[in-house]
């Protein structure tokens, strides 16, 4: 007898038909899911001279800032991270405003040949008053960055950061991670669900902001490696190594994502 329903084996034909329909739906849906993330395009850096100049100079500035403040960070992590936040935020803000296309400005190119009539529909939607608005997008991105900081903090605690002590340390570290890696993405993608699903599942094509995120996450992960060592170095203090990993990984990821890796995908 045919056994179909995976939960309640049922031999009824009616059930079988339902299951068949479900199976068909399942066959179709992966391609649908693929389509949603596959259409996400890499974020193009603006072609203006200022943008091109900033795209190279700003990472160097960030790196310089980190190196310059490293000693202070080791001696007093909390106050150094607090004072650095505005500077880092300003650099990232400048990066977003000068280099990145604001959310909505970069219309998605259809991945397949448009059917007649579809293009018109899109145009209507686009011109439907949702024209890109940089100041609003910036404000929104800053707010989102602020809100995501506690979530990152919680994630760090889950990875084993001290849960009850060192709250300021961890929170500030999370804030740096948010400002570096998340803020440009919020600016470029807004709250586009499909885009974020593509980003979070690491299916999005590499570009500067996404490369930065991937690099910062991997860097933060690797940053935990030297902590347990009994070398008794000052820089092993929480969260110096994590912050090192975040900055190093972010800068490397951003540069690679914008150059060699541009447009490539991390996973099929």
């Amino acid at each position: 007898m045919p056994l179909i329903d995976p939960v309640t084996m049922s031999s009824s034909i009616a059930k079988g038909a339902v299951a068949q329909a479900q199976a068909q739906a399942q066959v179709q849906s992966p391609s649908k899911g693929k389509e949603a993330s596959w259409t996400l395009l890499p974020v193009q850096i603006k072609q203006t001279p200022a943008a091109q100049a900033a795209r190279h100079s700003l990472p160097a500035l960030l790196a310089a800032l980190f190196v310059f403040r490293f000693d202070a960070l080791v001696t007093d992590p909390v106050s150094t991270m607090i004072t650095a936040i505005p500077a880092v935020a300003a650099l990232q803000l400048g990066y977003a405003l000068v280099c990145l296309p604001v959310v909505g400005s970069q219309t998605a190119k259809p991945g397949r040949k448009p059917r007649p009539g579809e293009k018109n529909l899109k145009k209507i939607v686009n011109s439907d008053g949702t024209s890109p608005n940089a100041p609003i997008a910036t404000l929104l991105s800053l707010l989102l960055t602020l809100f995501s900081t506690p979530l990152l903090h919680a994630a760090m605690v889950l990875f084993g950061a001290p849960a009850l002590s060192h709250t300021a340390h961890t929170l500030l570290c999370a804030a740096h991670l948010a400002v570096l890696a998340l803020f440009p993405l919020f600016y470029a993608h807004g709250v586009d669900g499909a885009a974020w699903v593509a980003l979070a599942s690491f299916r999005a094509p590499l570009d500067e902001p996404f490369g930065g995120l991937a690099g910062a996450l991997v860097g933060a992960w690797l940053g935990a490696v030297p902590i347990p060592l009994d070398w008794d170095r000052e820089w092993q203090r929480w969260p110096v190594t994590i912050l090192c990993g975040i900055y190093g990984g972010y800068l490397l990821g951003r540069v690679l994502g914008g150059t060699v890796g541009f447009g490539r995908r991390l996973a099929a």
């Binding site: 007898m1 605690v157 599942s201």
Partner: protein
């Protein structure tokens, strides 16, 4: 056609599988009858079907046996590898059989015309006058207070329960320094009583191998104090700890001695009261004995059971104070009283390792005569900490020997204690120098024979022992001729010689047998490679086994027509058979040859044959694997998950080369668990179905949260301080649970069964026996373990007055025994006989056809198998104390989430599942209050279900407590494979065996890495504190996992498949 009787199908689901299967068969027959009309044909087909079923069952059983055979071979390889390495790694010392002789002092042989420091004394060379030195006492009373840490005996002035409760010895030493002295007494690790007694009587350093025999001591054959006394015709009486009886069988006066069971750590008073009761009458009958040993265990047991900081410890120390005070009153002028500890205890009251607190003990000597002196006035006050002026424990041996006038045991490495020979005025330098020289000469004699036996040249370079000895002897010659001899300088010279020699001996005995170590590592490494190749049969093969029901039906009918039962074999089906045959083929000739060769040559190196047999059998197995196109190249991971599995396994194992990563292993495991959860949560976004996405994210987040929550239960090791807070017990200096922790087992009772139910309900698998077993039997077991721990706390804290300790203990032990028999005996029986967790409903469709619905069909394998890990979990929760039980409950929840995650992300065939399970097992080793150090073994868990030590139950209880995490993880391996698998799936045994292979590979890689690192870093400062215990933990964990995998997981899968196939027909 009439529809089948509907009332039959609506009856409540019966609990036995026979009714279900008959019902099912009836329903099936009814349906078959409704479709086909010629009955004869049906019966013929039925008979063919039965024959096919029988054939498939038989082939399954054969395959299962071969699979088990393969795993037994793997276990043997691991055993041989570990045994080989251990035999080369754990220190060995050549035991010399020579004995010291009374009239042959070692000073005789050192030069042709011996010079004596002391003038001849009356009775020189006889036991009556003193063999090698004038004797001071006729007899001695040794009171050994087990685990008497030095700071228990000196004033400290804080509020700790273990301080200032035992002031008598300190006060006496200050009040009358000529009658008593107190000094720190440093034990040589390992700090287990058995090893310490060996050191305290022979004067040599113990070796590590001895640790294993601590549960059942073995007789000392070396020259020792007791042997010397016995040979001199002295009578020895022993009271207390029966370890002495094991070490010195037949030494003690049978009618006066009173041995007591030593390992019942729950019993604080029987041994002590016995010693106190019997020692005082003996003090009035001094003519009947010459050495009286009283070994008290109460302080040690209070430490193990409660930790030092507990009112019981105060009581115990006060009792000892009174006891020693009273005993000192009864000491006559010819008797020496020694009170000492054999080792200390760590902050939680345990011992075994080599931390400062474990090795710092105290020694106090008392005489009613004026005997003892101090060479400096400031030495009158006993040192405030054990860091100043400590005495080595081996120093007791020459001191006692010379004081009682017997020869110093041949193998002694110690030196006389200054106070005992410096005279009441503290200026008898001649006497002191003579004693020191006698001991040093004995040491030199021992060294000479040791080097001769081992064929080692003694160094004569400046600063070497030989050089120091010659200097000291020259000084004797010089000083002897002078008018006012400066014996103090001579004394210092010999002391320097002794210290240098002791150092040399320590490093000499840290000598490893590299050949055996390397052979052990090679066997382990090749075993790991063979296992990996076996495991890497790969994800591709899984796709080959097609689960299409139509294909199966077609195959079945083909088989029925052709009636070829055994003909069909899925690819790789008989791989295990070929491997086991190859292993035997490779092993037997070499094993036989090796044994024969060892027998003929008479050297007795039987182990060589075993080692080479292991190597050749691995070689033949590898050849078989390569013949069936299993190669190492398949091991290179091709997916992110494969890479994660490799990174988690390798990075951890590489990290064990560093003491820091070994010390912080628990935090690293949390990091990996969270990493896995985050990656699965992110990858869940790739799932096409929105519902699957949410479920997968939910389970991933849950997995991470539960792991982090469990990580709050921990017991810090000394090296983690001060960055770690222990939460496993009430406080860092206790080994009892805090009152709030008692709520945890009750929470587990409330929550855990409901959680398990919640994982079964979605697949409609909460049917059959599941409701009864999970909601009632399992819950009742959990409730009783909660009651057990509540009773335990009542007893520990004396919360209720008037309840006799005995009654409480009786009640709690029987409760524990009930839990264990419910979980292990009744649970196993129920698991073997349980029907599948399904319910069959037969009803009529509107069209008038018979419709059979099987609730729980989709998870028929997984839901039923789940009952087995739950049983094991129940037993482990009881034995793991409240905090550990809570952690294990979280672990069970995590495992269920892991199974869901793997199923949702289609990862059941990926190695990441078993690797995560192994990581969970390793992680919950820590959350159940363990560390990779000897002192964290919770010996008291042996007495949870027992009153006294009983073999093999006590070691089994300790093993279940220690490796609860790994054991639960191993029993859950089949769960990951079987979860959400219906009864028609093929090749499950192979999949389980391979998943088990991945899990074992994780632990085998860990054991191999720790083994290799321990061997490589054998001169590292932290060898005995970090690397060696980590290796031992990893090796034992591997063997436990191997055994549990065979005895529980594979056997469980067999029972499960039998029961499922009995009902649904054989798919395998």
């Amino acid at each position: 056609m009439p529809p089948p009787n509907p009332t039959k199908g609506k009856a409540p689901p019966p609990l036995d599988y026979k009714p279900i299967s008959s019902q099912y068969a009836a329903a099936k027959q009814a349906k078959a009858a409704s479709e086909a009309d010629h009955d004869r044909h049906v019966t013929l087909r039925e008979r063919q079907r039965e024959a096919l079923e029988a054939a498939r069952k038989k082939s399954y059983e054969t395959r299962w046996l071969w699979t088990v055979g393969f795993w037994i071979w793997m276990l043997c390889i691991h055993l041989v590898g570990i045994a080989y390495f251990t035999s080369g790694f754990l220190l060995t010392r050549l035991i010399l059989d020579e004995k010291s002789i009374c009239d042959a002092p070692p000073t005789l042989n050192i030069s042709s015309s011996p010079i004596h420091i002391l003038p001849p004394w009356k009775g020189k060379g006889t036991v009556d006058g003193g063999c090698w030195h004038p004797k001071t006492f006729e007899r001695a009373v040794i009171v050994l207070i087990d685990a008497l840490r030095y700071d228990f005996t000196v004033p400290v002035g804080d509020d700790a329960a273990f301080h200032d409760a035992f002031p008598f010895m300190y006060d006496a030493a200050i009040r009358s320094p000529n009658n008593a002295f107190l000094r720190p007494f440093i034990a040589d690790p390992p700090t287990a009583t058995l090893q310490r007694l060996k050191g305290l009587t022979t004067g040599t350093l113990p070796t590590f191998v001895d640790v294993g025999s601590s549960f059942s001591g073995t007789a000392i054959e070396e020259d020792n104090l007791l042997m010397q006394l016995r040979d001199a015709g002295k009578r020895i009486v022993h009271l207390g700890d029966d370890t002495w009886d094991a070490l010195f069988p037949g030494y003690f006066e049978g009618n006066l001695s009173r041995p007591y069971d030593s390992f019942n750590v729950w019993d604080l008073h029987t041994v002590d009261n016995g010693v106190v009761e019997h020692i005082f009458p003996l003090m009035g009958r001094t003519s009947e004995w010459d050495l009286l040993i009283g070994h008290c265990l109460g302080v040690d047991h209070a430490g193990h059971r409660y930790g030092p900081d507990h009112p019981e410890m105060t009581k115990k120390l006060r009792q000892m104070d009174t006891f020693v005070r009273d005993l000192a009153e009864t000491i006559d002028d010819d008797t020496l009283l020694i009170v000492m500890g054999d080792h200390g205890m760590d902050s939680k009251g345990d011992h075994g390792g080599e931390s400062d607190e474990e090795i710092e003990s105290a020694v106090w000597m008392y005489s009613s005569r004026s005997v003892f002196g101090r060479t400096k006035p400031e030495f009158v006050t006993p040192p405030s900490t054990a860091k100043t002026r400590p005495v080595n424990q081996i120093d007791l041996v020459p001191t006692l020997a010379l004081l009682l006038g017997i020869p110093i045991p041949y193998n002694n490495l110690g030196r006389p204690i200054e106070e005992a020979f410096s005279g009441p005025a503290g200026n008898s330098w001649g006497n002191l120098a003579a004693a020191e020289r006698t001991a040093a000469a004995g040491l030199k004699r021992y060294q000479a024979s040791y080097f001769a036996a081992r064929n080692i040249e003694q160094a004569t370079t400046p600063g070497s022992p030989t050089d120091l000895w010659n200097q000291a002897e020259d000084l004797v010659l010089d000083t002897k001729g002078k008018n006012k001899p400066d014996w103090a300088a001579v004394y210092s010279a010999f002391a320097a010689y002794q210290q240098e020699t002791l150092q040399r001996c320590k490093s000499l005995w840290a000598r490893f047998d590299l050949k055996n170590m390397i052979l052990g590592i090679v066997i382990m490494a090749l075993g790991v490679v063979a296992l990996l190749v076996y495991v890497s049969r790969g994800e591709d093969d899984d796709d080959d086994i097609i689960d299409d029901p139509e294909l199966d039906a077609a195959e079945k009918s083909l088989q029925m027509q052709g009636f070829k039962a055994e003909g069909e074999a899925s690819p790789g089906e008989d791989l295990e058979k070929r491997m086991v045959s190859a292993a035997l083929f490779g092993a037997l000739p070499v094993l036989g040859g090796g044994l024969l060769q060892a027998y003929l040559s008479g050297v007795g190196d039987y182990h060589r044959g075993v080692g080479f047999a292991a190597l050749t059998s691995i070689a033949t197995v590898m050849v078989t694997l390569f013949e069936s196109r299993e190669t190492l190249f398949r091991l290179v991971p091709r997916t992110l998950w494969g890479w994660m599995a490799v990174v988690f396994t390798l990075s951890q194992s590489i990290g064990f080369a560093s003491n820091s990563y070994t010390i912080w292993e628990d935090s690293i495991l949390v990091f990996f668990i969270t990493t896995f959860g985050f990656v699965t949560a992110l990858f869940a976004l790739r799932l096409p179905s929105l519902a699957d996405r949410y479920l997968s994210i939910y389970h991933s987040v849950l997995f991470v949260l539960l792991g982090r929550l469990a990580s709050f239960s921990k017991l810090c090791r000394e090296e983690q301080m001060p960055y770690c807070t222990s939460t496993y017990y009430a406080s860092a200096t206790s080994s009892t649970s805090a009152p709030w922790q008692l709520a945890i087992p009750f929470l587990v009772v409330l929550i855990l069964p409901s959680i398990v139910k919640a994982y079964l309900v979605p697949t409609r698998s909460y049917e059959g026996m599941a409701p009864t077993w999970i909601s009632y039997a399992f819950r009742a077991g959990l409730f009783m373990s909660a009651v057990y721990w509540a009773l335990d706390a009542v007893g520990n804290g004396n919360w209720i007055d008037g309840i006799p300790d005995k009654l409480l203990k009786n009640f709690s032990v029987y409760t524990a025994q009930t839990v264990l028999s419910l979980a292990l005996v009744a649970g196993t029986t129920a698991f073997v006989w349980a029907p599948p967790c399904v319910s069959i409903i037969t009803s009529a469709t509107r069209a008038g056809h018979a419709q059979v619905t099987v609730l729980g069909y989709g998870n028929a394998h997984g839901a039923r198998y789940l009952l087995l890990p739950l049983n094991i979990l129940g037993a482990c929760i009881l034995l793991s104390k409240p905090m550990g039980g809570g952690a294990l409950a979280l672990m069970a929840w995590q495992i269920l989430s892991l199974a869901e995650i793997l199923d949702l992300n289609a990862l059941t065939a990926s190695p990441i599942g078993p690797v995560m399970l192994a990581v969970l097992g390793a992680f919950h080793f820590f959350t159940t209050g363990h560390q990779a150090v000897l002192s964290s073994i919770q010996w008291d868990s042996a007495f949870i279900p027992l009153f006294t030590l009983r073999y093999p139950w006590s070691p089994l209880a300790v093993a279940l407590n220690t490796f609860a995490g790994q054991i639960v993880a191993t029993t859950a391996v089949p769960l990951l494979v079987l979860w959400k698998v219906g009864p028609k799936k093929k090749g499950l045994l192979e999949r389980v065996s391979r998943a088990l292979g991945v899990l074992v590979a994780y632990y085998a890689v860990e054991a191999l890495a720790t083994m290799a690192w321990a061997g490589w870093l054998r001169r590292h400062l932290m060898l005995y504190r970090v690397f060696s215990p980590k290796f031992m933990t990893a090796a034992v964990a591997l063997l436990v996992v191997d055994i549990v995998g065979i005895v529980v997981s594979l056997a469980g899968v067999r029972c499960n498949t039998m029961a499922i196939s009995e009902v649904f027909g054989w798919a395998e």
